[in-house]
C-alpha cells in the first residue's frame, strides 16, 4: 500500500493536527476573516459552518493553501508552516476537494486518480501497474468504482470518490471538503457520508465545509461556527442541535423557515395544462396547474424533473404532447415563444443558464423585457434604470450598483435577480428549478416569501427542488417523478416526507427513516 495514506501509528497520535492562530484575510476592501484561531484534532471530522460569506470556504482554502492569510499563522503538527500554493500544501499532506470538481473527463478513473504521479516505465505509462495500484487503493477504502471507466461518464458522487482517491494516493492526512454533498441526490449523500466516516476511522483528518446542518451534526466531531468572518465558537457537535447552530450562525434565533401556505381555491382557473408530454427524459407527463397554486415536482436527480421544466419552456425539443397556457396559447417552438405565451423559467444553474456574469446587473434584469424600455429599438436609460430599481426592490435586492457585473452579487441576490427578470415579463406561470441551491439561509427565507406572495397574487408556480423539506414546506400539491413519469400525486395530508421519498425511490415500503439526515 505504498500509495495509501496513514501509517498505523497515526491512529495513536492524537491531539492537534492543525492549529490556526489569529488568521485574517481580506479581498480588496472586503474582510473575509478576522482573527480566527482554532485547533483541528488529528483524525477528527471538523465542520466549518456559517452563512454564505461568513468566511467558511475562505478558511478551508487557507488551511489547504489555496489562499494565504494576510495575517496570522498556521501550525501543522505543532510546526509553523506557510503554504504558498495548494501544491505546497499537498506535499505536507493537506488536500482541498473544491466545490467544482477537478477531474479530467476524457481520462479514465484510474488515470485521474494517479494524474501526475502515474507509474511509469521508460517514460511511458505502465497500465498494468496503474490498474494494480488503483485496485489496491480503492479496495483499501472500500470503493467499488471501475478504474477503467471514463471519469466524465460518472455521476457526481462517483467523481467525488475519484477526487478522494486522488487525495489518498498523494498521502493526504488532512482533506478539506468544500460543500461535498451540495450537488448530490440523497442516496449518494449517504454513500459519501459513509466514505467520510471511513476516512476519519483510518486516521485522516477531515475538514468539512457545509451548508447542511443535519449533515454536520451527523458527521462532525467538532463544529466551528463563523459569522461575518469572525469565529463565534468551536464546540463538540454532540451538544448542538440545528436550531442552536442556526442561532449561533445568524446571531439571532430563526422562526419557522417556511411562510404559511395559502392554498388556491379549488375552482381557480387552470393556467398551465400539460398533456402527454414526451421529450428527452420525459415519457408522457400530464398535469394541470391552477392560478395561485404551488405545485411541487419532486424526485431523485435524473428522474426527469428538470427535463419536464425544459420541455414546457421549450428549452429542449418536444417530441409530442401539448402545453397550453391559460385558456388559449399553445406553447410551441422556442423559449422565446414560451415566454411570450406567459411562461417564465428560473433555470437550474444560474451561472450557466441564467446570468450574463460579465455584464452589469442592469442588463441582466431587463434582458427579457428590453422592448418595454426602448423606443423604436433605442434604449431609454431613465426608464430602464427605474424599471431595474423597482423590480429589484420588489424581489428584495437593495442598494444601487446596477452597473456592477452580475458576478459581483452574492448567490442569493443572483437568484433574486433572475426572479426580477422573470417578473418583468409578468408571467402567468413561473417554473423555478432549484431556486435556493447554493443560497444562504437568510436569502432562502426571502425567496420562500417571494414565491408565496407571487402565487398569492394569482401566478401558478411549478417548483422543482431536491430539498424535500422545501417541497413539503411550500408546495400545495406534489407530483413525484421517477424515470421520466409522474409516479405519484400527493395532496393535503398525504404530502409527507415518507410518501415523497417512497414514490421517488419506487418503494411501497416507507423509505429510510429519519436517520438519513436529521
Amino acid at each position: 500500500m505504498a500509495g495509501l495514506t496513514v501509517p498505523e501509528t497515526d491512529n495513536t497520535l492524537q491531539g492537534a493536527h492543525v492549529e490556526l492562530r489569529d488568521i485574517s484575510k481580506h479581498f480588496g476592501g472586503t474582510r473575509a476573516l478576522e482573527g480566527v484561531s482554532l485547533t483541528i484534532d488529528r483524525g477528527s471530522i471538523h465542520a466549518l459552518v456559517g452563512e454564505n460569506g461568513a468566511g467558511k470556504s475562505t478558511l478551508g482554502k487557507i488551511i489547504a493553501g489555496a489562499h494565504s492569510p494576510d495575517h496570522g499563522h498556521l501550525l501543522l503538527d505543532g510546526e509553523p508552516v506557510r503554504f504558498h500554493s495548494p501544491r505546497d500544501a499537498i506535499t505536507h499532506g493537506v488536500i482541498l476537494i473544491a466545490q467544482e470538481l477537478a477531474i479530467v473527463p476524457a481520462l479514465t478513473v484510474e488515470q485521474n486518480v494517479f494524474l501526475g504521479v502515474e507509474p511509469r516505465q521508460a517514460g511511458f505509462q505502465n497500465r498494468r501497474e496503474l490498474r494494480r495500484k488503483y485496485n489496491e487503493l480503492a479496495a483499501s477504502v472500500g470503493f467499488e468504482l471501475d478504474g477503467g471507466a471514463k471519469a466524465g461518464s460518472l455521476r457526481t458522487a462517483d467523481q467525488q470518490k475519484v477526487e478522494i482517491l486522488r487525495a489518498l494516493c498523494r498521502n493526504a492526512q488532512l482533506i478539506v471538503m468544500d460543500e461535498p454533498t451540495a450537488a448530490l441526490s440523497r442516496p449518494d449523500v449517504e454513500a459519501l457520508h459513509k466514505v467520510i466516516r471511513q476516512l476519519a476511522k483510518n486516521g485522516t483528518t477531515v475538514v468539512l465545509v457545509s451548508h447542511f446542518l443535519g449533515e454536520v451534526l451527523e458527521l462532525a466531531d467538532t463544529v466551528t461556527i463563523l459569522r461575518d468572518g469572525r469565529l463565534v465558537q468551536t464546540v463538540p457537535a454532540a451538544g448542538e442541535t440545528e436550531d442552536s447552530l442556526m442561532a449561533a450562525m445568524l446571531g439571532r434565533s430563526v422562526d419557522a423557515t417556511f411562510p404559511a401556505k395559502r392554498f388556491a381555491a379549488a375552482d381557480a382557473p387552470v393556467v398551465l395544462s400539460v398533456r402527454d408530454l414526451v421529450a428527452p427524459g420525459v415519457n408522457g407527463v400530464s398535469f394541470d396547474l391552477r392560478a395561485g397554486e404551488i405545485l411541487g415536482l419532486a424526485g431523485l436527480i435524473g428522474a426527469g424533473r428538470t427535463e419536464v421544466a425544459r420541455a414546457i419552456y421549450r428549452a429542449n425539443r418536444v417530441q409530442s404532447g401539448s402545453v397550453i397556457v391559460g385558456t388559449g396559447g399553445t406553447v410551441a417552438g422556442t423559449p422565446r415563444a414560451a415566454m411570450r405565451a406567459g411562461v417564465a423559467m428560473i433555470p437550474e444553474s444560474r451561472k450557466e443558464q441564467g446570468l450574463l456574469l460579465t455584464r452589469p446587473v442592469k442588463e441582466n434584469v431587463t434582458l427579457s423585457s428590453l422592448a418595454a424600455v426602448c423606443t423604436a429599438g433605442v434604449l431609454r436609460p431613465g426608464p430602464e434604470r427605474r424599471t431595474v430599481r423597482d423590480i429589484l426592490a420588489r424581489v428584495d435586492v437593495r442598494g444601487g450598483g446596477y452597473g456592477l457585473p452580475a458576478a459581483a452579487l452574492s448567490g442569493g441576490n443572483q437568484q433574486k435577480l433572475l426572479f426580477g427578470r422573470s417578473l418583468l415579463r409578468d408571467p402567468r406561470v413561473l417554473i423555478a428549478d432549484e431556486p435556493t441551491r447554493g443560497v444562504d439561509v437568510g436569502a432562502k427565507r426571502a425567496i420562500y416569501e417571494l414565491l408565496t406572495s407571487l402565487t398569492a397574487s394569482g401566478l401558478g408556480l411549478l417548483l422543482i427542488s431536491s430539498d424535500v423539506e422545501e417541497i413539503l414546506g411550500l408546495a400545495h400539491r406534489v407530483l413525484v417523478m421517477r424515470g421520466g413519469r409522474v409516479t405519484a400525486e400527493l395532496t393535503g395530508d398525504d404530502v409527507t416526507e415518507a410518501a415523497v421519498l417512497g414514490a421517488a425511490f419506487g418503494t411501497e415500503v416507507p423509505p429510510p427513516s429519519k436517520e438519513v439526515r436529521e
Binding site: 472586503t30 460569506g53 456574469l357 455584464r359 433605442v378 428584495d396 442598494g399 459581483a408
Partner: protein, 345 residues
C-alpha cells in the same frame, strides 16, 4: 438576509440582521481591485495619449500637424470601418477572418462595374454583395453550427478565389472613372469623404452597439449564449446579423480604398488586413471571448497601431522593428485582458 461578510466591523448589529438592510457594498461584495479595475476600464487610452504626446513633442517630428493627422485618418478609414463592425462580431461571440477576402472581392467587383458603368450603382452593388457574403458566413456559423474561426477561414479561401477569377489575376485600373474617385477623394472641410464615411459608419455602429436593443443582445449573446436563449434572445439571428454587418463593412472599406487609388486587385486586403483589424480590436480592449468591449475602444486601438507605424516612418526608425513592436503590444493587450479576468472573477 444579513450580508454578513462586508457588514461594518461592528461585531453585533441585531437590527441589521433582520432584513436585507445591508449596504451597497455588502450586496455587491466582489472586491474591486482599484488599480486593476481602473486599468481595465481606461485600458488603451493612457498608452495612446502617451504615444501621441511623445510623437508630437519629438524633436524634429512633423507628426503633430494637420496634414499628417488628417492623412492618418484618411488612410485608416477602411481599417476603422471594418474593425468597428468586427468589434460587434467579437462581442457577440464570433470572429470573422474573411474580412480581408471580402474586402478584395467587393473592391474588384465595384471597380470593374465603375469602369463600365455608373459608379454609384457599382458602390451599392459592391456593398450589397459584401452583406450577402457576410450573411452566408453567418448562416454557416449559426445554422450549421460550425465554429466561426474555421467557417470564416474556409470562406476566405473561397472568396479570395472568386475575386481572382473575376480579375484573372490582373490589376483593374479605373483611372478613367473619375466619378468613382469622388467617392473617397472629395474634400469637405479639409477632410476626405473617405474619412467622413468612416466617421459616419463608426458613429452609427457605436450607437447601435451601445444604445439599442440589438446592441444589448450582441453583448448578451457573447456573454452567455445559453442564458440569453433561455431569456428569449434570438441568439443565432443576432450573430448572423453581426456577420452580415461585418461583410458589408469589409466591402465598404475595400471600395473606399479602390476609389482612393483608382485601382483594385484580388491580392489587396487579404490576411494582412484581417490581422490588422483584429489586432486593432484586441489592442483596444475588446475580449476575444465575447461579451465585453466597445467600438470607441476599437477606434483607439486601430489608431494606436497606426500611430506606431506613422511614428516609425516619420522618425525614420528601422521599419523592421515595427512588426516586433506590434506583436509585443498585441501580446500585452491579450495578456492584460486575461490577467484582469483572473483577478476579478
Amino acid at each position: 438576509m444579513s450580508q454578513p461578510q462586508a457588514a461594518t466591523p461592528a461585531p453585533e448589529k441585531p437590527g441589521n440582521a433582520g432584513k436585507n438592510g445591508a449596504s451597497v457594498a455588502a450586496i455587491f461584495r466582489m472586491p474591486q481591485a482599484g488599480f486593476v479595475g481602473k486599468a481595465r476600464e481606461g485600458g488603451i487610452i493612457y498608452p495612446f495619449i502617451l504615444l501621441f504626446v511623445v510623437l508630437a513633442i519629438w524633436k524634429g517630428s512633423t507628426f503633430y500637424g494637420k496634414t499628417n493627422l488628417l492623412e492618418i485618418l484618411d488612410q485608416q478609414s477602411a481599417t476603422l470601418i471594418i474593425a468597428a463592425a468586427g468589434t460587434m462580431v467579437l462581442i457577440a461571440g464570433g470572429i470573422d477572418l474573411s474580412v480581408g477576402a471580402t474586402y478584395a472581392l467587393c473592391q474588384v467587383i465595384a471597380t470593374k462595374m465603375a469602369v463600365h458603368g455608373d459608379p454609384a450603382l457599382a458602390i451599392i452593388v459592391g456593398v450589397i454583395i459584401g452583406v450577402g457574403v457576410g450573411a452566408i458566413n453567418g448562416v454557416v456559423v449559426t445554422f450549421f453550427r460550425i465554429n466561426s474561426l474555421i467557417a470564416t477561414l474556409a470562406s476566405s479561401f473561397v472568396i479570395t478565389g472568386a475575386a481572382a477569377l473575376i480579375t484573372g489575376g490582373n490589376l483593374i485600373i479605373a483611372y478613367s472613372a473619375l466619378g468613382f474617385a469622388n467617392f473617397a477623394r472629395t474634400q469637405f472641410l479639409d477632410v476626405t469623404t473617405a474619412a467622413w464615411t468612416m466617421i459616419g459608419v463608426v458613429i452609427i455602429l457605436g450607437v447601435v452597439l451601445a444604445r439599442t436593443m440589438a446592441g444589448r443582445y450582441m453583448y448578451a449573446a457573447g456573454s452567455n449564449a445559453e442564458a440569453s436563449r433561455l431569456a428569449g434572445v434570438r441568439v443565432q439571428w443576432i450573430k448572423l446579423v453581426t456577420f452580415a454587418i461585418s461583410g458589408g463593412a469589409a466591402a465598404l472599406g475595400g471600395i473606399l480604398d479602390a476609389s482612393r487609388v483608382l485601382s483594385a486587385s484580388s491580392s489587396n486586403g487579404g490576411t494582412a488586413l484581417t490581422f490588422t483589424v483584429l489586432a486593432g480590436i484586441v489592442v483596444g480592449g475588446t475580449s476575444i471571448l465575447g461579451g465585453e468591449g466597445a467600438i470607441w475602444r476599437t477606434v483607439i486601438g486601430v489608431l494606436f497601431i497606426a500611430l506606431i507605424g506613422n511614428g516609425f516612418t516619420l522618425l525614420a526608425w528601422n521599419p523592421l522593428y515595427e512588426q516586433i513592436t506590434l506583436g509585443l503590444i498585441l501580446l500585452l493587450a491579450v495578456g492584460g485582458d486575461a490577467w484582469s479576468r483572473l483577478r476579478t472573477t
